[in-house]
Amino acid sequence: MSQAIEREIDRSHMTVSDEVAIQISNMNKWYGEFHVLRDINLTVNRGERIVIAGPSGSGKSTMIRCINRLEEHQQGKIIVDGTELTSDLKNIDKIRSEVGMCFQHFNLFPHLTILENCTLAPMWVRKIPKREAEETAMHFLEKVKIPDQAHKYPGMLSGGQQQRVAIARSLCMKPRIMLFDEPTSALDPEMIKEVLDTMIELAEEGMTMLCVTHEMGFARQVANRVIFMDQGQIVEQNEPEEFFNNPKSERTKLFLSQILGH
């Protein structure tokens, strides 16, 4: 997978604007008695590419799932694109249609073709005519380099292709923010490359991205910030170079020694 990153990445478009895309302040979440997320504070500007790392069970998934309200937080505030996430259904709908999400296991709809997977949400949520939705879908499928698979079913595609369809499916909703939850960890090494390439392209186009991943090569080259979480807290954040070469906290050092060591 290190191959994937070895090409020269054009960072010129990856500008970060002043506009705030996501603001999380003093957010806390419990599962029953268990305090999963503790006092999270995070501001993400438009165009930022953030990689979230941390040991298993540290709450990374939970945090990004809170951002599009797949999980409910109990204290604090999350403001996405100027809209606060409350239990107000309208807000949730609004935010969900602006935030795309890619899961570890793709979660494509197996009973629909690739094209139908991509047009479903635009048609039913954005109420875009079928014709137009299909055009958009084909556009993004071309972008992820699998337009020829459009009429196949997910079961007929390889894992890497499926994950790319999942990305295309999110993009069809024209989201302003993309969340990735370990998008490559269910894949074989060759397939990882395909998917990371696609994500790098997205980054190059200036998409705001939050990505939970342990692909440190990717983090190093694409992210403009790496966040390290442990025990439900943000322990350290920094620019990738600094983060990898000069970690401040003990926890981070330990973690990095482990993942880089092996």
């Binding site: 709809f109 048609m123 109420k127 005519p129 939705a133 079961g155």
Partner: protein
């Protein structure tokens, strides 16, 4: 390296090859199986022939065309005691199919509701449904049928309880429905002049609904607009029909049941045997269907609904567009075999005296004509045909929805 070893000579066919040679062995086994099968079949047939000869009987289906001489209380087609045995069998078959059909519908409704509620986040309701499922499916259906019948005939009032100055029982729904221990009497429609038009309009509005849904779908695809289909459908279904009904001066009247003589007269009578059989079969099968529905929905991973939510689909749309289409594939095959079971279990009509196929062809006709072999064979054949019909439907469905995989 040395040269090739001497190859064993071909010795032609040897008897031991019948056992040790894979090519002949399979033939040997099949021939033995075939012989055994034919031997058993011949044995049975021969015995039957001798036994029949000893009794001085022969296989003859002529009795089907002789008058049946008995009455059947529930008739979906014209029948009286002078009709033929064949017709009696038809009446019975229709009764079987009727109760099976209604049973399948009610069982599906009950099962789907219970299955979905069992998944409900509401602890109380899901436990309640668990209790329902576990009670019904662990007790034999015959007991349910007999117990339901016993309760219907012993706990409900007799028709005469409705009589007198101070009747101990009264009718329901503004005196239009009478629930008695013989059956439930409900109003029946009376087709006055002009009712044809009402029916026609009703059929037309069904057509209109179909057309409207197509239109709505096209429009949705073209413009992305979603029409409030449910309400419009409802309106199309009822408004024109009701309009014509009142314009024509209410041509369709209701024949209300009323106590006359020994029983209620008028209206339609749903006899208790049928009710007992129907309810018991439905709730029993419903318990199995509930489990099928539940596991069908559970079989669709949580990831699917999360993905749909993340795309911004609302829960109801997620259910309709993502979960249900997938769950149905899992649900329908076992569902259909439950329908099959229900249909076969309807032969337990025996327990309550519902006059189904078994009671007519395999009961009174068999007894009156003494053609037990013919009647039994015919009856099994009919059940077999019905079953095969249902299961071939299932196979067609299975083929059509099989998930495409590589």
């Amino acid at each position: 390296m040395t040269t090739a070893i001497d190859t064993p000579q071909d010795q032609g066919f040897r008897l031991s090859q019948l056992i040790y040679d894979t090519r002949y062995r399979s033939i040997t086994i099949q021939v033995i199986a075939m012989l055994a099968f034919m031997f058993i079949a011949a044995f049975l047939v021969r015995n039957t022939i001798t036994n029949l000869a000893n009794l001085g009987k022969e296989i003859d289906f002529g009795f089907l065309f002789n008058p049946a001489n008995y009455d059947i209380n529930q008739r979906l087609i014209e029948y009286d005691s002078t009709s033929t045995n064949l017709r009696a069998a038809m009446v019975g078959l229709l009764n079987t199919l009727l109760v099976a059909f209604m049973g399948c519908i009610l069982a599906t409704v009950v099962g789907v509701v219970a299955g979905v509620l069992r998944l409900s986040k509401n602890w109380l309701i899901s436990k309640l449904m668990t209790v329902y499922v576990e009670t019904f499916r662990n007790i034999p259906v015959v007991i349910w049928i007999i117990a339901t019948m016993a309760v219907l005939s012993e706990a409900l009032p007799q028709p005469r309880a409705f009589r007198g100055e101070t009747p101990s029982a009264s009718m329901w729904l503004w005196d239009s429905v009478a629930v008695t221990n013989r059956g439930t009497y409900i109003p029946a429609p009376v087709w006055g002049p002009g009712s044809v038009f009402v029916v026609l309009v009703f059929l037309l509005s069904l057509l209109a609904i179909w057309a409207f849904n197509r239109y709505a779908h096209r429009r949705f695809e073209a413009t992305g607009q979603i029409l409030p289909k449910f309400w419009i459908n409802l309106a199309i279904l009822f408004v024109p029909t009701l309009l014509v009904f009142f314009l024509l001066g209410r041509p369709i009247g209701l024949d209300l049941p009323a106590l006359k003589g020994f029983n209620f007269q008028g209206g339609t009578m749903l006899r208790n045997p049928m009710l007992a059989l129907w309810l018991a079969l439905s709730f029993y099968t419903g318990a199995f269907i509930a489990e099928i529905v539940r596991s069908g929905i559970l079989a669709i991973s949580k990831g699917q609904s999360e993905a749909a939510f993340a795309l911004g689909l609302r829960p109801s749309r997620t259910m309709n567009l993502v979960i249900l289409p997938q769950a149905l594939r899992v649900i329908i095959p076992p569902l259909i075999s439950q329908f099959l079971n229900l249909t076969k279990n309807s032969s337990l009509a025996l327990a309550v005296g519902y006059q189904d196929l078994r009671a007519t062809l395999g009961g009174t006709t068999m007894n009156n004509t003494g053609r037990e072999l013919e009647c039994m064979l015919l009856m099994m054949l009919i059940y077999l045909v019905v079953s095969l019909f249902i299961s071939s439907g299932m196979n067609i469905y299975n083929k059509s929805v099989k998930l495409k995989e590589r």
